[in-house]
């Protein structure tokens, strides 16, 4: 089992280096490597992995790497996979940090970033719609979306408090729904 640890590291290093566009874009890549190529886990585990990665805090990519690493080779596996997935980002961004500031005073680069600023709005919008589509829509959903938006955008309430409040409301409402089912 522990023989998989170096292979886990290199596999997730590869996934980290070639996954553009964030967590969800990375899932097919993980499946290809872990299930199809190495046979470390089965498709059933991948579904578990997605469910866990979504319902726990933190970036999906990190959650997925830690989970697959742990299931495949215990704690050393989790460490190797997580370290592997973070390393490419870390090195690339660390290197870019020095170059970026210098390049921005260069005219074409300044113009490029001026255009990019408008384009970025579409990218964030895209992320927003992806998440929106996954949600179950009901009255509570719309009320919470709207309240979170207004509290954050206009009253500048700390996001942590909004999340804690929403979690409480969600728990209470599901508790009430459950009771209603029982009394029926």
């Amino acid at each position: 089992m522990s023989g998989n640890v170096p292979a886990l590291f290199t596999t997730f290093l590869k996934i980290g280096a070639f996954s553009f566009g964030g967590g969800y874009a990375m899932i097919p890549l993980i499946r290809e490597e872990i299930v199809t190529k190495h046979g470390w886990l089965e498709d059933e585990d991948m579904i578990q992995m997605i469910a866990i990665a979504e319902s726990t805090p933190g970036p999906i990519a990190i959650n997925a790497a830690t989970f697959v690493g742990y299931r495949t080779a215990g704690f050393p596996g989790a460490l190797a996979a997580t370290f592997g997935i973070v390393l490419p980002s870390f090195l690339i961004i660390f290197g870019l940090s020095f170059v970026l500031a210098k390049f921005k005073s260069f005219k074409p680069v300044a113009y490029a970033f001026d255009g990019i600023r408008a384009g970025v709005l579409v990218l964030v919008f895209r992320g927003l719609t992806t998440l929106y589509r996954q949600c179950e829509k009901n009255t509570l959903f719309y009320v919470l979306v709207l309240s979170a938006f207004v509290l954050e955008a206009f009253f500048k309430i700390n996001a942590v408090y909004i999340l804690i409040g929403a979690a409480l409301i969600g728990s209470v409402s599901s508790y009430l729904c459950a009771r209603k089912e029982v009394t029926k």
Partner: protein, 189 residues
Amino acid sequence: MIFWELFFTFFRIGLFTFGGGYAMLPMIEQEVIAHSWLSMEELIDFIAVSESTPGPFAVNIATYIGTHTAGFPGALCATAGVVLPSFLIILFVARIFTKFKDSRTVQGIMTGLKPAVVGLIGAALFTLVLAVFAPDGISSVNVFSVPFLKHFLILCIVFYLNMRKVKPIRLVLVSAGLGILAGYLLELL
């Protein structure tokens, strides 16, 4: 101390981010502006850089802000901070998953969290729109000014391409190209 500050700030961000990707944008916006680690404009530029490089947005932005404020050790602290909550929680959850999945409490919490995250990202987007289209405040916006029209036109083109399912990295490249084109065309006028 700056290293603790970086570590704890990003630890908090990692701990309270559900849903991945831009779900952490509102918190990053708040923290980064409160600490004045980056300006709003630099943050927007970095979103584009992050979309054009591999890896999760969270790790990218942590590494960038860490390096920007305190060099290599700063990058290490911020990145370790953002990764650690996920790592510890998943280690714990992977052991008790079968119980965890069907837990009514967890499902209840998620029915509350998901819409809140959608609202929060919406608010972050709203702030970004203001930063691009009304950098000097909403009252001084001139819809017929050159920068406003230029950004609006680029936004429309990129939005159209997004509807046609063009990949994010290509959207960044197109935006950059349009920015360069617009910059030089305006110089000629």
